[in-house]
């Protein structure tokens, strides 16, 4: 009977060994990236979109960082994305909005010049993420951060030493939650 029942201290010792071996296990970085996209979306658009976007962001990251996807093959598939032209107005405007322009006039030319020099966004063309893409009705543009390696997957050149750097990108997400197209953003200081 004694052999059939291991003493509690042995059980605790065994559990301690398991706890120690798993002590450093944690969620992979993709989870944090998805949550941050959801967090940013929530701030802008509320929770319905945040839930959709958390899933969509995961798909984008998986799609772009899929190891079997060769840059060469993707490069040949890069075409302008016609549906994007029909997309609703993005929530983040790349060009200065009229509202900003009005404010600039009020602040005077000197302040306006400083503001203008603060940041200027330069964007790439959109690259399709679904091929063939289903028809696009409504959607939303989301600003996300991705490793620069993602740029390579759509055929954009990236220096080896910058592959792990984070870059900003705009992802066009359809109303069904699927990421449709992506463009990359660079900030230039005038």
């Amino acid at each position: 009977m004694k052999e059939e029942h291991v003493k509690e201290d042995y059980v605790l010792q065994a559990l301690g060994a398991l706890a120690e071996s798993d002590r450093k296990r944690e969620a992979p970085p993709e989870v944090e990236a998805r949550l941050l996209v959801a967090f940013q979306t929530r701030r802008r658009s509320g929770w319905r979109w945040a839930a959709i976007v958390a899933t969509a962001a995961g798909l984008v990251i998986a799609l772009l960082l899929w190891p079997n996807r060769s840059p060469k093959a993707t490069l040949s598939a890069v075409q302008p994305f016609p549906q994007v032209l029909e997309a609703p107005r993005p929530i983040r405007e790349i060009e200065p909005t009229p509202r900003v322009a009005r404010a600039r006039r009020k602040l005077g030319p000197k302040v306006a010049a400083v503001r203008q020099s603060e940041r200027r966004e330069v964007v790439t063309d959109f690259f399709p993420l679904m091929n063939p893409a289903p028809s696009f009705g409504r959607g939303q543009m989301l600003r996300v951060q991705l490793p620069a390696a993602a740029m390579q997957t759509v055929g954009l050149p990236v220096r080896e030493e910058h592959l792990d750097d984070l870059v900003q990108a705009d992802v066009l997400v359809g109303e069904e939650g699927m990421p449709r197209a992506i463009r990359f953003v660079r900030f230039d200081v005038k």
Binding site: L35, A50, A54
Partner: protein, 182 residues
């Protein structure tokens, strides 16, 4: 160090840095809890993500008087996991004897593994109420009070489930040891 509660308040006000800090501080515990409960990395990732989305959605309902933020997170994770378990297969905590009897095949398999994996499998084979108590108190070192808050039961219940869970683990591991010796 800023408290979890203050980070949560700031995150709910839209402070991304606070949310990131809170996530980085607590995601490991939530992930490991889900991992030890489910045994599946993919499930644990999903649950961790859902827990923090739920926190942003309903973090305003967190009441420090009822337990720590970590126990609140464990509670959310637990509910998400139980929902998944229900979909997968109904779990009957009363059918304890059946579960132990049905462990023979598992234990055959366990004799070929390392000790750590044997313990992991033994934990996973516990019925959910006992597994929760063992994972929280013995693997994540949660206090009885925190475990009770997460499991929504009295501290005495946590103690009795923990005691029973350990006994069941001892039984499972004893069978394994006996088999490997024979």
């Amino acid at each position: 160090m800023i408290s979890d509660e203050d980070l949560l308040k700031a995150a709910l006000r839209g402070d991304e840095a606070a949310f990131t800090a809170l996530y980085r501080r607590r995601q490991g515990a939530v992930y490991r809890f889900a991992l030890h409960m489910s045994g599946e990395g993919a499930v644990s990732e999903d649950v961790t993500q859902e827990v923090f989305i739920a926190l942003l959605e309903s973090g305003g309902r967190f009441d420090p008087a009822r337990g720590t933020l970590l126990s609140f997170l464990y509670g959310i994770a637990r509910n998400l996991l139980l929902r998944r378990f229900e979909k997968k297969r109904p779990e009957d905590s009363d059918a304890l004897a059946d579960e132990l009897a049905a462990d023979d095949d598992v234990l055959d398999d366990l004799t070929r593994r390392e000790t750590i994996e044997a313990v992991r499998s033994a934990v996973l084979s516990l019925p959910a109420p006992y597994r929760e108590a063992v994972v929280l108190c013995d693997l994540e070192n949660a206090s009885y009070e925190d475990a009770a808050a997460a499991l929504e039961c009295p501290v005495g219940t946590v103690r009795s489930r923990l005691s029973r869970g350990r006994a069941m683990l001892g039984q499972k591991l004893a069978v394994k040891t006996a088999r490997s010796m024979s």
